[in-house]
């Protein structure tokens, strides 16, 4: 079938491990509200490490895997260029700086979290962040409810009800719904 030998890859600039680390460290601290646009800019536009198609392909895989997309992407990307070492280095670059920053914030919150003032600011930010999440849901839902296969909205609603209303554990809801959903998608095609 399509299992033929992979064609020789077009011109690729191979990053060194140090470059990999630095690139993902820069992406991680730039990436407020989603690191994807920054990763794409760096990898495709600036360094030429991947073509736009390769990037989309690698990112599609990262989205389908469990766990945070960007974290998966750093592993997929790093392993492509440097095997296990590349994956580890890209991951360390992506997670290192944010971990240091957030640990400092966690310490400050432990010290001052009871302050009325801070509580009010965080309450406002949370309210806005929830709004942002609702917008993400709306953007994801729009194409799903418009076309695709007719079962999709029902699956989404079932997952929502199971987790949010009945409050079943996520693994349970997932183990029940994911196979059904995949089977329906399979039969649809």
């Amino acid at each position: 079938m399509s299992d033929s030998v992979a064609p020789p890859r077009s011109v690729v600039i191979r990053p060194s491990l140090l470059e990999l680390f630095r690139a993902f460290a820069v992406v991680s601290v730039s990436g407020f509200g989603g690191a994807l646009p920054w990763a794409r800019r760096m990898i495709v536009d600036q360094r030429g490490w991947m073509t736009a198609e390769e990037f989309n392909e690698a990112f599609a895989l990262s989205q389908f895997l469990p766990g945070p997309n960007v974290v998966n992407f750093s592993v997929v990307f790093g392993s492509r260029f440097g095997g296990a070492a590349g994956a580890a280095v890209a991951l360390a670059g992506l997670m290192g700086p944010p971990l240091i920053i957030v640990t400092i914030l966690a310490f400050l919150y432990a010290q001052f979290g009871e302050l009325e003032l801070l509580g009010r600011i965080l309450a406002g930010i949370t309210a806005a962040a929830v709004g942002l999440l609702i917008a993400v849901v709306a953007k994801m839902a729009a194409p799903l409810f418009r076309k695709r296969w007719d079962w999709a909205p029902l699956i989404a609603i079932a997952a929502f009800v199971g987790v949010a209303i009945i409050q079943w554990p996520l693994p349970l809801v997932f183990v029940v719904l994911a196979p059904i959903s995949i089977a329906l998608a399979w039969m649809r095609r």
Partner: protein, 175 residues
Amino acid sequence: MNDNPLVPLFGYFALLSLFAVGGANAAIPEMHRIAVDVMHWMNDRQFADSFAIAQISPGPNIIIVTLIGYHVAGLAGAAVATVAMCGPTCVFAFLVARTWDHFKEARWRIAIQAGLVPVSLGLIAASAFVLARSADHNIYAALITAVTAIVAFATRINPLWLFAVGGVLGLSGWL
């Protein structure tokens, strides 16, 4: 042994990481259920605060587990929670990445990808619902949420501006 909070911290997050299709946003309700309802590590407000801090921090939003871990057991807790949440999925991603390209056109792969989209959508919607319930305890907070949702949906504004407006409104004592 049974009192060591690092053990459930690791166990819960490692298990959760394998089902978090859609990333941190999909896993919020389960984190809330475990941290607040089951284990009583933190209260509702502390959970909502952790979410807010993770949102305004640079880097992946999954970093909320670092905050929860720190709250439970200091630096050791932060490290354990982060490794538990990222470790298993990273190993999985590494293994899959090596074989995936061979199955690019395979029907089962396309079915898996299409089938997981609605599940992950439902989970993220559940996250929004659970968070709204802990965050919007009055009409003004709900208004901030609603307006932010509309602006974020209709424009491509940098979310940091929306967080800043929310923070200032919160500071001014509306909430």
